[in-house]
Symmetry: C2
């Protein structure tokens, strides 16, 4: 088991990375001072792993209750968070209770937001069960829900007391979800870590085969990259943290246009990252060979790289305008100045962006 420490101004917490963590008492006990524990999970994950976690906690004398959400991004809304509040109140949970998120990013976002708001804040421990959640939601404290008019528009910053990134639970992920996680792993290489990018290109086949040693390495290096960024910019006060959103403005537009849950978040981000690379190439930042490397790595990870042709350029622009990175009314995007180096900028011609938005299926071929 590896332990990575996330250092933040207010609090430091550990991320444990390794196999079979759900049964290990020392991953829970030092971080859960509460007697009352609510485990929030979903209908897919609960049948697989809930009993293990419950047994570990029951053996330590905790009062453990559960709240099971339906599975899917389309349920990540205020109404379903309100359901968590109802469970907490029905079970008479007090301010000294703790919530455990057992599931993917959706469960983590909703549980963290519920923990941030219940009685104005209770403890929160995170057990991400997807690769995407392990490398993305484990660090940063971003929690929240979607609104019909925009993704992740409602939320809070809430740090967990500990994160358990158990590589054993990734065996039950389907191929699409697993690949979606690799998209965020690749992102860290693209925005700030050339050696990691090269390592990923060398090991992508082993990672696709879910090699546990490679996986632990990829998770640790991803979390470390994110932790470095977040420690420097915890509340997203400057542009540093915004670099983590490479591909996300394009990706959110795809997710919103298609309806939440149709494209997985990581799939939309993968295509969004190639769109960002394409725009970076059109602006003269990247060479055609650079974009080709991005495209090949994404394809090798079994990720989509072409946006749905049902989304027009006009719809893309409209949806991108509500993104949180719009400051003072100007659309700002994360672009790559070279592989491993990203910037946030509003300094690009609209016509050039429109070329990227209209490229469609050409994105898959342009740089061959």
């Amino acid at each position: 088991m590896q332990t990575l420490t996330v250092a933040l101004s207010e609090r430091t917490y550990p991320i444990f990375i390794g196999e079979h963590l759900l049964t290990q008492e020392h991953c829970f006990k030092p971080y859960l001072k509460a007697k009352q524990i609510l485990i929030v999970s979903n209908t897919t994950v609960a049948p697989l792993y809930l009993a293990q976690v419950q047994a570990t906690l029951n053996a330590q004398g905790y009062v453990v209750e559960t709240h099971i959400l339906p599975d899917g991004e389309q349920y990540k809304d205020i109404a379903h968070v309100e359901g968590i509040f109802t469970s907490l109140l029905e079970k008479r949970f007090n301010r000294d209770c703790a919530l455990i998120a057992l599931g993917g990013g959706v469960v983590g976002d909703m549980t963290g937001f519920a923990a941030a708001c219940y009685q104005r804040g209770v403890s929160f421990l995170q057990i991400p069960t997807t690769l995407l959640a392990q490398v993305d939601s484990s660090v940063g404290g971003k929690t929240g829900v979607n609104h019909p008019l925009g993704k992740n528009m409602i939320g809070a910053f809430k740090q967990p007391v500990a994160v358990l990134a158990d590589t054993s639970v990734l065996d039950t992920l389907n191929d699409r979800e697993y690949a979606a996680g690799l998209a965020e792993v690749i992102k860290y290489g693209l925005i700030r870590d050339v050696p990691f990018l090269v390592w990923l290109e060398d090991n992508i086949q082993g990672l696709v085969a879910r090699d546990k040693v490679l996986l632990a390495e990829a998770i640790a290096r991803s979390c470390q990259n994110k932790a470095d960024v977040v420690a420097a910019d915890e509340l997203e006060a400057n542009d540093l943290r915004a670099l983590l959103n490479l591909g996300h403005t394009f990706g959110h537009a795809i997710e919103t246009a298609m309806g939440y849950g149709v494209w997985l978040h990581g799939e939309a981000v993968a295509t969004g990252m190639l769109m960002a690379a394409d725009l970076s190439w059109r602006l003269g930042y990247l060479s055609a060979a650079d974009v080709e490397r991005v495209k090949r790595l994404l394809i090798a990870a079994n990720l989509p790289v072409i946006p749905p042709d049902s989304i027009s350029s006009a719809e893309f622009l409209n949806l991108m305008a509500v993104d949180k990175k719009v400051l003072a009314g100007k659309l700002r995007l994360v672009l790559l100045t070279s592989l491993g180096h990203a910037i946030v900028t509003a300094d690009f011609p609209l016509a050039t962006l429109e070329k990227t938005l209209a490229a469609g299926t050409q994105l898959g071929q342009l740089y061959d």
Copy 2:
């Protein structure tokens, strides 16, 4: 105009106290860097004061939008906060926008909570238009909404950038709402400020008559008392801040039992404070003469001191058990060890509490 500075770890903000503040540019401009402003008000306050605030802001070049809530505690729920999010998203408000709360405590609580959660946090300026909100919600950063199973159970700590406590707007309050505000003013004297308590006993008739000079003094001394407490315990990490809840555990039970909005918050707190004083007397902390002083002051302020006889002791106990001051399953109450000195304690016999809960109409006579 008086200016009181609230000093907090992260940020310091001013409370302006005086007449005719809504038209004064210097109360707004230095604190609103955003171009996009959403004023949240309600159907009672908006017709009276919205145009003034809009005109002041429009003259300074802000883009001002409005969101009008129905008036009443019964609408202080998640669904109505979601309506604020919808307005913000429909109007394409970005992370650099600001919300202004123009109304009483309900509008302030909901707007502050919306500002805390919209895009994980935007700016928030507060214009409390009731006496209760001016002396209570102006300081402390507590925001949130009710849940059908408990009052103020969902929320966040969110500090405003500035507070405008305009004494002119109190002229339009009805007598019940005005008296409800006096309940919280009296509370500060009871829990920590004997000289203020004596001053209130001397000036209660002038205050009931809404004398502007006395009012400004009462508001400033109340806010200063609260600011001292909050500065020492911003996130309610110890018992200090809990002392501000004198009468609230009893009061919340009354509000919940009667249905939100039937009893005003301040009315329920007034009766709750006499119940707390009664229990303090039964435990030997207060003399009968002390309780008599509390009762006389509350009655002189036109406040109710007898709980509804429809609430049984059992129902009281049941409703009090979900209060946030329950820690590790034990009911903790704010009691008075003497006039001007309060404690939080779970150290009282249940049978004694039940005597207070069953006292009913005797509360109005017991100490004569």
